[in-house]
């Protein structure tokens, strides 16, 4: 990108058969079983959902410019934050990195021709689309106002909005996650190239593996929970119904049994991307490979034991609260291991500030902020003060937007030349990364302060002394929105007009960079034999081209 093109293997894109030009026509895309094409199908769908969800966020922030609300009725505001949450969590963040970059990269990184079950992979995309259609139908048919958490008995008995299609949409999409996770686990276990032992795998694969475990073990629980909610709402009797002795709080237990691990579904793949970016742009081996690898698994396992920290003030016993608090502190340990190891990798590295690296550095800062503020919420005493305020909103946006979305964009920018065979304008990409970083902090840092001062979340109005901070947050949201539109424009532009990328524009290690860009349908002409460890930049003869 910034250095001169000196790659001798380069062949003009048009003259070589690759996965993009092997077949043409809508049918060749809708019936494809090629993991790379399915990754692009997912990319298009989740980008659409991202901007739909983002649109609701923009409306919310516009509304909150005035203490009495500038835009919509309180009932509509309830629907806005619900639809924003449902779409962003279930239809963007959960599938984001696994379904796009994961689908594209898992077979390429492990030296396989495809995932183990290509048809199942295509099926999972269709399931995702059907779920998304149900949810978008719910938006059109009047929206939902339960919050993305669907707490009973409000969702089961009292809300007069489109709970059923939304819950069904989320239920259906869950199976798409399950099938994707299943496919990844089997592929990673059974289809690694000769010589590619577990401890030679790129750390992205470890992260995707840990994510898949959560997909497999967590998603079915939310599926059955939403199914029970659905039955209760349709039949007007069910196991959360207090009229026959049902316990609505049991719903919260089941919901968070999945939805807390789901937070790690969103962040673990981002951590995997981070390990790839940090090593490539500091030209160093990862510091403490096995610690980073096992911390992914540790996060996945501990994530199943911390759900109660969402319920400290929900009538859970104080002893349960104590244990959940301790376990929640424990999950900070493997997360911190990762941050320290990335930082140690940077130390004395030969760092270059390309666009993907800017996202990666942004991730380290923002994720650390999000993680440390999570400890405030894991402490029983401070949580009582902060629960249900904007402090929580800011905390999880620092993890999910500052963490997951930054890593997602960094990953998209890193592998874009591999996916499309084209380079994007580097200056614009760095500019967009900075705009997003500034816009993000301006949006969400004031919300920490608002929450600490006591402004509750999910209200359409607020006392006028909070207006300055709210206006700052809304201003940041507009900058953030523009920041997200810039990459959309230049990435689409680059698909047609960008300069040819060559097989390895970053001089990166990893099997995916040994193939032409874009790769051929079968990925590798000959299945490679791996003889070295991951990130062996010290002995690298690869030159940036």
């Amino acid at each position: 990108m910034s250095t001169a093109t000196i790659d001798v293997h380069e062949v003009p894109t048009g003259s070589r058969v690759n996965y993009l030009n092997a077949q043409y026509g809508v049918k060749s895309w809708l019936l494809t079983t090629d993991h790379k094409r399915i990754a692009l199908l997912y990319l298009a769908s989740i980008t659409l959902m991202f901007f739909v969800g983002g649109f609701f966020a923009v409306l919310m922030r516009l509304h909150l410019i005035e203490p009495q609300g500038a835009l919509v009725q309180p009932e509509t505001y309830n629907k806005l934050f619900t639809m924003h949450g449902v779409i962003m969590v279930f239809f963007f963040l959960v599938p984001s990195i696994p379904a796009t970059l994961g689908n594209f990269l898992v077979p390429m990184m492990i030296g396989a021709r495809d995932l183990a079950f290509p048809k199942l992979n295509l099926l999972s995309w269709y399931i995702y689309v059907i779920g998304a259609i149900f949810t978008l139908y719910a938006v059109i048919s009047g929206g939902v106002d339960t919050g993305w958490t669907f707490y009973t008995p409000y969702s089961s008995s009292f809300s007069h909005t489109s709970v059923v299609p939304t819950a069904l949409g989320v239920f259906i999409t869950g199976f798409s996650s399950i099938l994707t996770g299943l496919n990844f686990v089997v592929t990673i276990h059974k289809m690694r190239a000769p010589g590619l032992t577990w401890f030679r795998l790129p750390l992205f694969i470890w992260a995707i593996y840990a994510t898949s475990i959560i997909f497999i073990l967590g998603t079915p629980v939310i599926a059955i929970t939403l199914f029970l909610l659905f039955l209760e709402r349709v039949l007007h009797i069910g196991i959360f119904d207090p009229a026959i002795g049902g316990d609505p709080i049991l719903f919260q237990h089941l919901f968070w049994f999945y939805s807390h691990p789901a937070v790690y579904i969103m962040i673990l793949p981002g951590m995997g991307v981070m390990s790839e970016l940090i090593t490539c742009f500091s030209r160093k081996r990862i510091f403490g490979y096995s610690f980073v690898a096992f911390s992914s698994l540790a996060i996945a396992i501990i994530s199943f034991l911390v759900w109660g920290h969402h319920m400290f003030v929900t009538g859970q016993s104080i002893y349960a609260g104590l244990i959940f608090s301790v376990l929640s502190f424990m999950v900070a340990i493997p997360s911190a291991v990762k941050v320290f190891n990335w930082t140690a990798t940077l130390y004395k590295g030969s760092i270059s500030y390309d666009a993907p690296m800017l996202y990666a550095l942004g991730f380290i800062g923002l994720f650390t902020m999000g993680g440390l503020t999570g400890l405030f919420l894991a402490s029983l005493a401070t949580d009582v003060h902060l629960n249900g305020t904007y402090f929580i909103v800011a905390h999880f946006h620092y993890i999910m937007v500052g963490g997951a979305v930054m890593a997602y964009l960094g990953g998209i920018h890193f592998w874009w030349p591999k996916i499309t065979g084209r380079l994007y304008p580097d200056g614009w990409a760095r500019f967009a990364a900075l705009v997003i970083f500034v816009g993000f902090n301006l949006t969400f840092f004031p919300q920490f302060m608002l929450g600490y001062l006591g402004m509750p979340r999910r209200y359409a109005v607020y006392p006028s002394e909070f207006q300055v901070l709210n206006v700052m947050s809304s201003a940041g949201a507009s900058i953030l929105g523009i920041g997200y539109l810039i990459p959309l424009i230049y990435l689409i532009w680059s698909m047609r007009y960008g300069p040819t990328a060559g097989p390895n524009p970053w001089g990166a290690k990893g099997l995916e960079w040994t193939t032409p860009s874009p790769p051929p349908t079968e990925n590798f002409e000959e299945i490679p034999v791996v003889t070295e460890e991951a990130y062996d930049y010290a002995h690298s003869t690869v030159i940036r081209g």
Partner: protein, 227 residues
């Protein structure tokens, strides 16, 4: 494009050899069964919570179920697991006729299970006003615990209903396998679709093995001589 060598029937292009494909298929089904365990597990966990809260109500509910039908169905299902295993064995030793015969027997036993479940048990429950949401009637002789008896029947219908749904899907899979077996698609070298579908069928069977005592046999019905 890759050079394609002559491959045995049923070989998929993304694999390197037949053994890798077989192992992948088998692991895939085991992982799928893990998700199924968690899917049913959510229901079992809530069942345990409510049973601990409302044990007397659950005992009343359990005693209202027709245990002879449940027991008969348990036998039918275990029989079907046996014929499923025999179908796989027939494929391993290359007997096509026996394969088809055992697969059809398995389907018939599965259908018999559903027939007994729906036409005898569920119909009986409906007539007795034991279906929550469809005219459930709390009887005065149940006393105070009666208020929570509908909860037991919610679990009964959700759990057996979900299990029946899995049976219906299983019978559909068996129908496809029967056609494939009839066309001679399975050989002693290649029978993994049979093998992994067998795993699924046994899993559905095992779920019932847990459901039967949890729903039909609680409350010391036989130890204390019933009520």
């Amino acid at each position: 494009m890759a050079i394609h060598h002559a491959h045995p029937p049923g070989f998929a292009h993304q694999f390197e050899d037949m053994q890798q494909q077989r192992e992948a298929g088998s692991l895939g089904m085991w992982v799928f069964l893990l998700t199924e365990m968690m899917f049913f597990g959510g229901l079992f966990a809530t069942y345990i919570v409510y049973r601990a809260l409302y044990l007397p109500s659950f005992e009343i509910g359990s005693h209202l179920l027709e245990v002879r039908f449940g027991a008969l169905n348990t036998a039918v299902l275990i029989g079907s697991s046996l014929t499923m295993a025999l179908a796989i064995h027939s494929a391993q030793i290359g007997k096509r006729g026996a394969q088809v015969g055992f697969l059809i027997t398995t389907m018939i036993l599965g259908a018999a299970f559903l027939f007994i479940k729906f036409t005898f048990e569920w119909r009986h429950d409906y007539v007795e006003h034991l279906v929550p949401g469809f005219g459930f009637a709390i009887r005065p002789e149940w006393g105070a615990p009666g208020a929570h008896v509908p909860m037991f029947f919610c679990f009964y219908f959700f759990m057996t209903g979900l299990h029946a749904l899995h049976m219906i899907i299983g019978i559909g899979i068996l129908a496809v396998l029967t056609v494939m077996a009839h066309r001679g698609r399975f050989t002693p070298q290649y029978y993994s679709p049979l093998e992994v579908s067998g795993l699924y069928w046994h899993f559905v069977d095992i779920v019932w093995i847990f459901l039967f005592p949890l729903l039909y046999l609680i409350g010391g019905r036989y130890l204390r001589g019933g009520h």
